[in-house]
Symmetry: C2
Amino acid sequence: MSDWIPVKQARLAESSGRPCEIRGWVRTRRDSKGGFSFIEINDGSSLGNLQVVAPAELDNYAGEIQRLTAGCSVVVRGELQASPAKGQATELHASAVRVLGWADPETYPLQKKRHSFEKLREWAHLRTRTNTLGAVMRVRDQICQSIHRFFHENGFLYVNTPIITASDCEGAGEMFRVTTLDLERLAKSGGPVDFSFDFFDKPTFLTVSGQLEGETYATSLGRIYTFGPTFRAENSNTSRHLAEFWMIEPEAAFFDLADNMQLAEQFLKQVFSECLQCCEEDMAFFDQRIEKGKIDQIRGVIDKPFEHMTYTEAIKVLETSGQKFDYDIAWGSDLQAEHERYLTEQHVGGPLILTDYPSTIKPFYMRVSDDEKTVAAMDVLVPGVGEIIGGSQREERLDVLRKRMAEQSLSEDEYGWYVDLRKYGTVPHAGFGLGLERAVQYVTGMANIRDVIPFPRTPGSAEF
Amino acid sequence: MSDWIPVKQARLAESSGRPCEIRGWVRTRRDSKGGFSFIEINDGSSLGNLQVVAPAELDNYAGEIQRLTAGCSVVVRGELQASPAKGQATELHASAVRVLGWADPETYPLQKKRHSFEKLREWAHLRTRTNTLGAVMRVRDQICQSIHRFFHENGFLYVNTPIITASDCEGAGEMFRVTTLDLERLAKSGGPVDFSFDFFDKPTFLTVSGQLEGETYATSLGRIYTFGPTFRAENSNTSRHLAEFWMIEPEAAFFDLADNMQLAEQFLKQVFSECLQCCEEDMAFFDQRIEKGKIDQIRGVIDKPFEHMTYTEAIKVLETSGQKFDYDIAWGSDLQAEHERYLTEQHVGGPLILTDYPSTIKPFYMRVSDDEKTVAAMDVLVPGVGEIIGGSQREERLDVLRKRMAEQSLSEDEYGWYVDLRKYGTVPHAGFGLGLERAVQYVTGMANIRDVIPFPRTPGSAEF
């Protein structure tokens, strides 16, 4: 019978007095002159370690315990007692320390010395053994759990839209090709490429968005959301871009833009609140070590009603701001990150939803407004990051959709199924997209998006 | 101010007397001689429709209401009243019926006539408007929600292992290639292929399993699970195979095979129980219309402790069964579906976990047992489907792992990161994999796996 408990639980004051077993990895060992050693153990269940007090009387004290170094795996039995030391409620007085695995300090990369996040990316298979990356992944998990719960509680069904696709979601970005053709043989063939030999009998790609397929489910099941990987084959070596990332895309029938904005606001507030509640220790760490003031910034998003402004109003604000921007401001051109951040950080000082963008800079599926110049689009901006959510009401009128498709040379042969949704029982509907990694970056304050996904895929890099 | 409620809620007896608005799609309309029409409305929130009683007094009765056909979208306002009709607690007495979208009965494919599931696959963008596919997708959502909740409650962190990979998880299956090379240009090049021009500077593929990457997280964070798409480029045109499917793979540090079996049993029981509880109406539908006795079969899995048997024992049972099988039985060869089904359905009459398979038929990462002939593998078999889960304890001993890798010609260059987990603080660990679609197929009784995933990908088919 095992009385194993996770370190997280062992560290609680109320666990004091309890006999138990701890299983984890050594972070540090310090030998005291008093005839015992202090060993800090982490098992991934929390940021904080459990301090083990191992007396010299133990059989393997000289032979093993005094040889323990960072990374060694151990099973410790003993009794939890109130700790006299600062910053920890309990400590484990060991009656047995069993070493499962050693970690040669000559070669083990994660010694006490601090490594840059860049260096740690080379050891992506080990980097969650560090405080920061462990905390990031616990927060990432919490965000994912909150997202599923939020939608489930609000009557949205989880839908898995396809990853391999023959359609390209209106050119949202460069795509990766998926094929089973033998490239070496193909290279010798002289061409042309015969896709009837490919797995799907035609060119196929990795999805850039599940929205269009998601709409087919919203217009039958009412409220749905996707949560899956999406891809961009763009040669962007920035701290904000990944070739493979996870996206959440809710879509709801009978929603207009106002419903959509309300949903996005409730959604962000609930997910962020649960992060602060459920990851208190990890969030305090980010607030202290990664980005000072992060918690207050997030509280600002949770506590304040989001402001609203049309794109046209935003252009006026920017034009009269007296601020110098790198990019020119003109009605009809896309806002740049610097503009968005000025609006949310300087002008409003809190979350801001921009709406009613020029139709010329937005995709064909967004609903054309009565002015015939703008579409019912929305972008949610938050201080510290700018755009975090983008969405729109969708064009539900068959004739208007067809006109927009024709303008953008999209064929009804290819998008016939999408048009069908407007032919048969069309309804107003709306939705938005949230990039998971952008959200994790925002919450944790991590500067580089490659440090908030387990194994980042970027140009030239698909390790592990 | 909207007093919209979903059909699911409107159908509850306690909603009687309530004024409300319903938004959905017409399933059928029937005009009564008494001066009113009955309209069945579905909005995807439940299998059952809400019956609307629309009196001839309504303004648009002759002009619109009497023209309503299957698939039209409507917003109905009125008061819910107790229904005198059998099989429904309430009905909506309409004070206004607004038609949002028509569905030309000449061209709308989903008329009252029954269509084969095969035919419905051609209309995958509309098929969730039918009873069966709607029910499948609600059950699929429930299974997904239960899976996330189960692991969250048991301290497992959700981890997104990579989709694009340069490693091949020990050849678990044929892989799709991912590339940004211009195939037409490549075909004219004469070869050889220069991958330094490809996005990742090397050949990359779609993942067949996240297990190996998952192990890196389990050996730092303790307990993790993956839930994501996986791929097989196999030319299998069967009712049980997809080229793209979703897989759940938990992995836990300090777990041995016994812990792993216990986890799998608790997991299946909880997920299946919640299906029966939360999807009562949908499950009754499957039990009546798709596979008689399904609910009792699932209850059998929930209520009974799973039996255990070694592979060696199973071979003996099969050899002495007197049963005729298409495939020969011999120690050292893999069990076929017919053998597995005999064992779980005829011999045990309930769920069965087979363990300790010959090492020669299992991958290099499974833990070699003391007999040096078998590995600590487990397959969970259930009546009606056979294998539903496969897993193992992993080889944590550096020397044994290296030997196994050498035997299978796996290079430490490529798998160095995986070997590192055994070099630095190695721990016993174990995990398993569940194919989501197999689980949905089992729970719903749907005969073809293409009918339990929104947009199935199979050889020659990547529509939508």
